[in-house]
Symmetry: C2
Subunit: 267 residues, 2 copies
DNA sequence: TTCATAAATCTCAATAAAAGAGATTTTTGT
DNA sequence: ACAAAAATCTCTTTTATTGAGATTTATGAA
């Protein structure tokens, strides 16, 4: 699209693997990506040798075991997941709900951790599942804290979808809603993603002004009351704030050649 | 090492992230990889934009959210995991044990799925954790079915470690053990990885002659008897065979432009 | 088994991209 | 506001990357 360097091109091969299309043949990849035969095979060879892709009988390719290994490493290194776990556990212990950590990355929302305290959860997002960008408390808890430029781009891209939610017919109505969320520090949505399910979400920061994630709870409308919702809002907000504080805290670098401490920007 | 192409070089950046070292600064990466400053920053930029890496406050890099997403996709596309699940479940339902699927990839063993039926499992390998190459039933269930060339390379590389297990002082002794496993179709090890734990593993094939994984059970020696071990061996072997048959079966290609069936090579 | 066909790899010249030294800008901490 | 460090940019040289076509290797059918 922009700069056709070979790094982007090889990553583009991995990009085509999606939930809709988990397996590709070389012919299909050539058609999709427009690479010549030798080039594509070169890429496939490298990616397979590195474990990012695996061949399946029949000639197709799927994602390979390397991604499993890297996810394992990431679970260990991700401070959001590590510090967030106790907050998720506390929330599901207090309410019959699902509690999620959802990362904001690129232009996507991605669930990276979830805990559940009900038998048949009304919503259950496993780690790794992307979430809708335009609907629900999680989405708005992020959008409310995005820089104007970025927000405008997203809102105009998703305007039809956003209108359907009932926030209002116009962009300015949506902005009003978001401003209120920014004041409250927490977003709430009723049945936008799943009918009968209430979502409550608060942004999580890591020093900078743009949130990196939300901490959120989803609970069956039938299993709660307005008073309880209010209590959950408070708990979600304070947990998100606590988590943000932990993430932004002064911390030792694990650079063994540098024993000094460093104060993280808490903007 | 061999051909210094930029694909290998960018993958080499991801290679340095390991359980021992989950976070790297650009300076450290320059030193480790020997790339010039602009080159490294270019790579880091691409990898971060693609979500493979993420910056952390303080200047370091860790693996990024993209790997979470790809692991989610792989769980859905991996036929080994999908078809293997019922066998793991059946095993843990029958015996107080852990049941694992461990992939053989590159020169590594990697746990891709596990089920447990005991409260405090004596061994619990989560998805993504690499396993020792030289010890235990899982390792030998693979080695016993490797082509001679590859096996020789591995055995000579790990000879000291292999000797320590008590299979015999010499390479030929090890080969004898492996030949017996090849006959039995199942490997057994006592306390090689964890003291007091018995491992029982059988190879899983996907058409070709080289196994792609093992199906295995680990059980506390205290929780079992020789008779039961014999029963587990039978169950593990037959489950692995059943799984291999499912993986090698005639199956439809999901190439929408090709409606034909294709017979998979059953080597 | 042998053969026909499709799939994957190789060869090699032309071309376009990548690399790095050093300057410059931006970020960060005092 | 300032100094130091970190990250990015500029621009030329060098070098890998590319793709057409030939070749080899795998695959399925007879």
């Amino acid at each position: 699209m922009s700069a056709p360097n070979s790094v982007e091109r090889i990553i583009a091969v991995l990009d085509v693997f999606s939930e809709d299309r988990l397996e590709w043949t070389p012919e299909q990849l050539m058609a999709e990506l427009g690479y010549s035969r030798p080039t594509l095979y070169r890429y496939l060879k490298s990616l397979r040798e590195a474990g990012f892709l695996a061949s399946v009988p029949g000639g197709g390719f799927t994602l390979g075991p390397r991604v499993v290994e890297m996810d394992f490493l990431m679970r260990k290194s991700d401070r959001l997941v590590r510090f967030g776990k106790v907050h998720l556990d506390a929330l599901v212990a207090s309410f019959p709900c699902s509690a999620l950590l959802v990362r904001w990355y690129g232009e996507k929302l991605l669930c990276v951790a979830s805990e559940v305290s009900v038998e048949n959860p009304v919503t259950s997002y496993p780690r790794g599942r992307p979430m809708p960008l335009s609907r629900g408390a999680i989405s708005r808890a992020i959008m409310a804290f995005l820089p104007k430029r970025k927000l405008n781009r997203i809102v105009s891209g998703q305007l039809d979808d956003l209108r359907g939610i009932g926030l209002g017919p116009d962009v300015s109505d949506i902005f009003d809603v978001l401003r209120q969320i920014r004041r409250d520090g927490v977003a709430e949505a009723h049945g936008e993603v799943t009918p009968g399910v209430i979502g409550i979400a608060a942004p999580v920061f890591e020093g900078a002004a743009t949130p990196i994630a939300t901490l959120s709870v989803t609970i069956s409308a039938a299993a709660t009351t307005p008073e309880r919702i209010s209590a959950i809002r408070d708990r979600v907000r304070s947990a998100a704030n606590a988590l943000s504080a932990e993430l932004g805290e002064r911390r030792e670098r694990d650079d063994t050649t540098d024993t000094g401490l460093r104060l993280v920007h808490t903007g």
